[in-house]
């Protein structure tokens, strides 16, 4: 009962603050702007794909096919490079196009043709989508030139010719083959998830840091600490209170996140690229029930870690200014690191489990684990993140049980014993 009252107090003290309400409004606006920025960034990445080199494996020696490839290479300003095998091509170029045997003859007879594309995904990064956007761009050029060739061969007007080239592109990730449309959607969903995790984590950290510091400023803290309640209960109630507030923020900002998703799911097709959508639903389907459970655990751990870290900062700060000055940069560093990871990319390897050390990176490790089909990575990363979170909670309890909660910490040079 006392514990419930403690948690309720933690929540009410913050919820009734005008600053908290103003913060909610600010962030909804912020997410709207961020959504648009991400939409523009996605378009830029797609455009960059147009300028990359592409390996071409032609299994068809037909003169029609050869002419088509030469014409396409000329149109693409020499960006097509012939390679003997797909594997060799992938070792040199971001993408490889395979023209199947009989393609030339098929072009003259059939309206629908299949072209095969290959790319290697070695990182969880939005920029990786450019690798297979390249294939889509080249296939679109081939399709247009193919129509011209057929029109010349049949001696008819170009507008009378109907040909559709369907690219079937595979992304190879750690030996696993993933359809690129699914992967595109998942990478965008993961990026959105990372933004959400970063923002919520930073807010949880800031609010919990300020809750203790504010309580000290309000001069009610010493009275609280002399109540017949264990310090452990007070500390854990503060952590739970911080998590509850974060969950409220999740609900409040859902509309903002939805706007971002709507922004990035705008068709981004450039020269034959397929429409790519990003939704949490796609991500959930890809991760499966086990992945969803791990993802939920990761969000809970992240909130608890952020809340505990914030409490640790706030409990050793004399006032909110100090708490803000310390928690702000730490929160921003964690958040920016998470954003940077989207562009630098998270390596798709067993080392991804080390992302658990930051707790914030756990969702990315879970995603990497799903792409590679190696569940051990997700489990290891979750184990590491759980240990880090528990250590942080224990540290908070220790600080609350010590008098550092009142007198703070002092960093002094150790005196040499005489």
């Amino acid at each position: 009962m006392v514990f419930t009252a403690l948690v309720k107090k933690e929540v009410m003290v913050v919820l009734k603050s005008p600053a908290f309400i103003a913060g909610l409004v600010f962030l909804v606006v912020y997410f709207g702007v961020l959504g648009r920025v991400i939409g523009v960034a996605t378009e830029q990445v797609t455009k960059e794909a147009v300028e990359s080199y592409v390996g071409v494996v032609s299994e068809d020696m037909n003169i029609v096919t050869q002419w088509l490839l030469q014409a396409a290479n000329s149109t693409l300003k020499g960006r097509l490079v012939t390679v003997p095998t797909v594997e060799e091509g992938l070792s040199k170029f971001p993408a490889v196009l395979l023209i199947p045997a009989g393609f030339g003859e098929s072009l003259l007879r059939n309206k629908t043709l299949y072209v095969y594309g290959y790319t290697v995904i070695d990182r969880v990064s939005l920029l990786q989508t450019s690798r297979y956007q390249i294939v889509f761009s080249v296939v679109k050029v081939l399709e247009e030139l193919g129509k011209v060739l057929v029109a010349m061969e049949e001696g008819v007007n170009l507008s009378e010719i109907s040909r559709t080239f369907i690219p079937r592109v595979e992304a190879r990730a750690g030996g696993k083959v993933v359809d690129v449309n699914v992967l595109s959607s998942l990478l965008i969903s993961t990026m959105m998830l990372a933004y959400m995790v970063g923002i919520l984590g930073m807010l949880a950290l800031m609010y919990s840091a300020q809750s203790v510091a504010t309580e000290k400023e309000e001069k009610a803290f010493e009275m609280l600490l002399t109540l017949p309640i264990s310090r452990k209960a007070i500390a854990v109630a503060k952590v739970v209170g911080a998590v509850v507030l974060s969950v409220i923020m999740v609900v409040a900002y859902f509309a903002g996140f939805s706007f971002i998703f709507a922004s990035v799911s705008t068709p981004t097709s450039v020269e034959g690229s397929q429409v790519v959508t990003g939704s949490l639903w796609d991500l959930m389907q890809f991760l499966g029930s086990e992945g969803i459970i791990l993802l939920s655990i990761s969000l809970g751990l992240m909130l608890m870690f952020s809340g505990s870290l914030g409490l640790l900062i706030g409990s050793m700060s004399s006032d909110t200014r100090v708490a803000g000055a310390v928690a702000g940069p730490i929160g921003a560093a964690l958040y920016v690191s998470l954003l940077a990871a989207q562009f630098i990319g998270v390596p798709l390897s067993s080392f991804s489990s080390l992302l658990g050390l930051s707790v914030y990176g756990l969702p990315l490790a879970i995603f990497a684990s799903s792409v590679l089909g190696d569940r051990a990575i997700a489990l290891q990363a979750t184990g590491i993140a759980t240990a880090v979170t528990l250590i942080t909670v224990l540290a908070v309890v220790r600080v609350f049980e010590s008098e550092k909660i009142l007198i703070g910490i002092s960093v002094r040079r150790r005196r040499q014993a005489r």
């Binding site: 009962m1 006392v2 009252a5 107090k9 009410m12 003290v13 913050v14 919820l15 009734k16 603050s17 309580e215 309000e218 001069k219 009610a220 010493e222 009275m223 609280l224 600490l225 002399t226 109540l227 017949p228 309640i229 264990s230 008098e403 009142l406 007198i407 910490i409 002092s410 002094r412």
Partner: protein
């Protein structure tokens, strides 16, 4: 130890990080039911002593017992017996006065006893309809009365006040002193308070301990001390006792 001893401080030492000695071998006893005042200049160790007795700080040396319980090893049990009003105690600015009262008293009481305690605190605070307003709109005096009401309505065995009337106007200071004195007498509560205000100490306290540089210089009944030092008031006692 006799159960009539409410506070037993023996050779108390408190060294803060960095080597600053807040208290340096302090010893005194407070008998159950009496009002005892710790008097001394800034930095003499009054607040540190009160914080140790209130289980907020841990002693570096010596021992402190409250009704026979050690303040370190029996901290939670000690907290059940005490209520502490720090200097400039405030309240959560975004809660209403009544929410604040209910939260603090809810940590001690349940059910109808809680309702009685809340009603008592509201009566002590005497803030009228302001008790339902957020604390951020309260004056310093109102906040002080709110905090005091919670402390008194807790009905502890030991009340600890650090500068109980600090920053209050004359009218509110008188009211606080009367409340403290009435509660102590009516319910047989032991009171330990610190103050700069010698008049206040003289008015409220059965016995006074003068503390200087972390040590007890002299203690006794105010009238006896004045007689011993041929002083007209406690201020002169203080000056003569510390050799000024």
């Amino acid at each position: 130890m006799s159960s009539s001893i409410a506070i037993d401080v023996r050779d108390l030492v408190k060294v803060y990080p960095g080597g600053v000695r807040g208290v340096d071998g302090l010893s005194f006893r407070v008998v159950a039911g009496e009002i005892y005042g710790l008097v001394g200049p800034n930095g003499s160790g009054k607040t540190t002593t009160l914080r140790i007795i209130a289980t907020l700080l841990k002693p570096s040396g010596g021992s402190v017992r409250v009704f026979g319980l050690d303040v370190v090893s029996d901290a939670i049990k000690v907290r059940e017996l005490i209520a502490y009003l720090p200097e400039e105690a405030g309240a959560y600015r975004d809660l209403t006065g009544i929410d604040f009262v209910r939260f603090f008293l809810g940590a001690r009481f349940r059910g109808s006893r809680l309702e009685e305690a809340v009603e008592e605190a509201v009566k002590i605070a005497d803030l009228g309809s302001d008790i339902k307003r957020p604390v951020r709109g309260y004056s310093k005096g109102m906040k002080r009365l709110l905090a005091l009401s919670v402390v008194l309505a807790s009905r502890p065995k030991l009340l600890i006040f650090d500068e109980p009337t600090s920053g209050l106007d004359v009218e509110r200071s008188l009211r606080v002193r009367n409340l403290v004195r009435d509660y102590a007498r009516r319910y047989g509560v032991t009171v330990l308070l610190s103050s700069h205000n010698m008049l206040e100490v003289e008015y409220l306290c059965d016995r006074v301990g003068i503390i200087y540089r972390g040590k007890l210089v002299v203690e006794g009944v105010p009238e006896e001390l004045k007689a011993r030092y041929s002083a007209r008031n406690l201020e002169e006692v203080f000056v003569r006792a510390v050799g000024g």
